[in-house]
């Protein structure tokens, strides 16, 4: 099997896994890192798909700046999700 093309699939799989982890983790700091990882792998994927413009913007804004801003916001609030916030949204409760 040609492993230049299977790199794409590996990156997409890692992106999906880290996106699910970013939603599921109770530790918000780890969730922010997972979200930054999604952006980082997305920027590698953009580079492979020959869109270097988008790759640079995604790496700078998605991975570095928005991750840092999330971490600053977590520092000023709380680090862990608590149980009573884990209610379903209005679209389920209606």
């Amino acid at each position: 099997m040609n492993c230049i093309t299977c790199i794409d699939y590996i990156i997409v799989a890692v992106m999906i896994v880290s996106a699910i982890l970013a939603v599921e983790w109770r530790d918000l700091l780890a969730a922010a890192v997972g979200m930054a990882a999604v952006s980082l792998f997305a920027s590698i994927l953009f580079l492979i798909l020959q869109a270097p413009d988008v790759a640079m913007t995604e790496a700078a804004i998605g991975a570095a700046l928005s991750g840092a801003i999330f971490i600053f916001a977590i520092k000023r609030t709380k680090r862990f999700e608590t149980e009573e916030e884990e209610r379903p949204g209005w679209w389920v409760r209606w």
């Binding site: 270097p52 413009d53 640079m56 913007t57 700078a60 804004i61 570095a64 700046l65 840092a68 801003i69 600053f72 916001a73 000023r76 379903p88 679209w91 389920v92 209606w94």
Partner: protein
């Protein structure tokens, strides 16, 4: 029981919507040349705008008004952060300096990161990149400074003045185009004055694309640095 019913209903709704979206997307021929406008841009970009990077030519020249809107959106976002986190007195409250790796690495890297950001937006019409990635790269340099040193703050007066001036500059460039060529954001340097026709592919070409990208780069850099500054500082009570 009821919640299971509701959840099942929600899942069925999502499946139906997903099926419709998949049906709609299946009808689009991906990877084929069905769009005429893309080929038009690729054929005419050199003689109409003077830029070899067709992406930035579309973003700044053909669709310059959209980019002005994008810059405005970023300005509103920065203003919103500043308004939400407003305090009468704000100060940095970090207590520990960064580790020696972070401080030394920051001292070494910051000039080069700023230089690279400036390179990205000055050469926007030649190489991949442009004002938005360049400005974001410059903002990451200030983020590094904020993380490494406890007392560092951006020069607020200079940054606010730069931001306002370059924001006005974009509109002024557009209005000069309106005065010379008859419509807003007309490329007067390339079309009317005809500068840089003989050195396409070098730095001094591309009409007003480098000017507007320098404006956008400075604006994005100062605004994102301002957002970082607002997020990091905490209000102190007297």
């Amino acid at each position: 029981m009821v919640s299971i019913l509701k959840r099942g209903l929600a899942i069925i709704t999502i499946l139906i919507i997903g099926y419709w979206l998949a049906q709609a997307l299946a009808g689009i021929p991906f990877g084929q040349d069905k769009m005429l406008v893309g080929q038009y841009y690729l054929d005419h970009v050199k003689q109409q705008t003077g830029a070899i990077n067709a992406v930035t030519a579309v973003v700044v020249n053909y669709r310059g008004f959209d980019t002005l809107g994008e810059v405005t959106v970023l300005f509103i976002a920065s203003t919103g952060v500043g308004a939400l986190l407003w305090e009468r007195k704000k100060r940095r409250t970090a207590k520990t300096e960064g580790s020696i790796v972070l401080t030394t690495g920051t001292r070494l890297l910051v000039p080069f990161v700023i230089l690279f950001g400036a390179y990205i937006f000055i050469h926007g019409h030649l190489t991949p990149g442009g004002g938005f990635p360049g400005g974001a790269t410059i903002a990451t340099a200030f983020l590094l400074l904020y993380m490494a040193f406890t007392m560092y703050e951006i020069p607020h007066k200079a940054f606010e003045k730069t931001e306002g001036l370059v924001g006005m500059g974009y509109v002024i460039v557009g209005l000069i185009g309106l005065a010379i060529g008859g419509y807003f954001l007309f490329d007067w340097i390339w079309q009317t004055w005809g500068w840089g026709h003989e050195n396409i592919g070098r730095l001094f070409s591309g009409g007003f694309i480098p000017i507007i990208y320098i404006i956008i780069g400075l604006k994005v850099g100062t605004e994102l640095s301002g957002i970082i500054d607002n997020m990091l500082k905490e209000g102190v009570s007297e």
